[in-house]
Symmetry: C2
Subunit: 208 residues, 2 copies
Amino acid sequence: MKTRDRILVTSLELFNLCGEPNVTTIDIANEMDISPGNLYYHFRNKDEIIAELFQQFETSMHEVLQSPQEEGLEIMDYWMYIHMVFERIWEYRFLYRDLATILERNEKLQKRFNRILDKKAANCRLIMNSMRDSGIITITDKQIESLATNVVITGTYWMNYQQVRNLGDNPELEDLGRGVYQVMSLILPYLPPEGQEALEAVAATYLE
Amino acid sequence: MKTRDRILVTSLELFNLCGEPNVTTIDIANEMDISPGNLYYHFRNKDEIIAELFQQFETSMHEVLQSPQEEGLEIMDYWMYIHMVFERIWEYRFLYRDLATILERNEKLQKRFNRILDKKAANCRLIMNSMRDSGIITITDKQIESLATNVVITGTYWMNYQQVRNLGDNPELEDLGRGVYQVMSLILPYLPPEGQEALEAVAATYLE
């Protein structure tokens, strides 16, 4: 692997493990056993590393957020879709751990992150509208709006919530399924009885 | 006001305005026009200031979280109750801006913060159980459990979400009402039609 790529991989690992504010470029160089000068040759400072990692995250997230737009999707399809979104968040979880502090340092990243949140909210609206059009659920425009916001909030902060709840332990990949359930449970009360049962059945399969 | 109290008031203002990671004890001393030595005489470091502010926050929060347990409360009462919780969060919003990073530095604060979250979840369960017992709503134990978690997540991260959404602007006190609405909207689909209408009417009064 090229040194530049190794710097990115190592930084991502350390950021995810320790929290971005607790990792310096010196820590990254030490971990890689290279000189700080060698690191600075590739990235002038930590923010340049973060910008590059953000770019990777953004590409990966927009790829997933190409919403499942076909008609007639099952609860299972939505579950898998939300799980894929959570996997991307997991991969770059350092961003979500210190979101406000990382984004305030770079206005462009802040705008780009908000576009991802906009896209998530838009997808939620799309799915709810399509369910309403098919007569599966009864929901007002206003309810769709506040539901979309709550889906975005739970989706965005689930990982942070896990970190705060699990004193000292790093969140585990297995927690993602429970995050998916929390997001799906926002939609649950709008579903008809058979939809609610289908959701609980899918949840039971994925959450032992 | 005594110097010690002035340090606390100034620290809280600066933390809320700039974010705790961006404020040093030197900044606090400069803002107050006192020498760093004078500040260190009262607090040996920033974490001691944070511990004291946390203590104030905790006392104030537990006071509010004495849940409204009487029977026959109206939607308006719950609205006001959640608004009071949000006012406490607003007052100490620096905690919520960098929650994971601030709490990881002090295991005791982390435990105490989690007790506040436990209390919030317990109150939510209590209210939903009481509504179910009065026959106002139909909801399963499992739904109450995931609802309580979502109420805690939206309640905890609303302020952070506002900061991320409003590029560069500090959140405003008026945003609290919208936060209350987001929390209430989690419960809305479980309410009977007249309860939903009552909630929308209360929301219309408070959110022009």
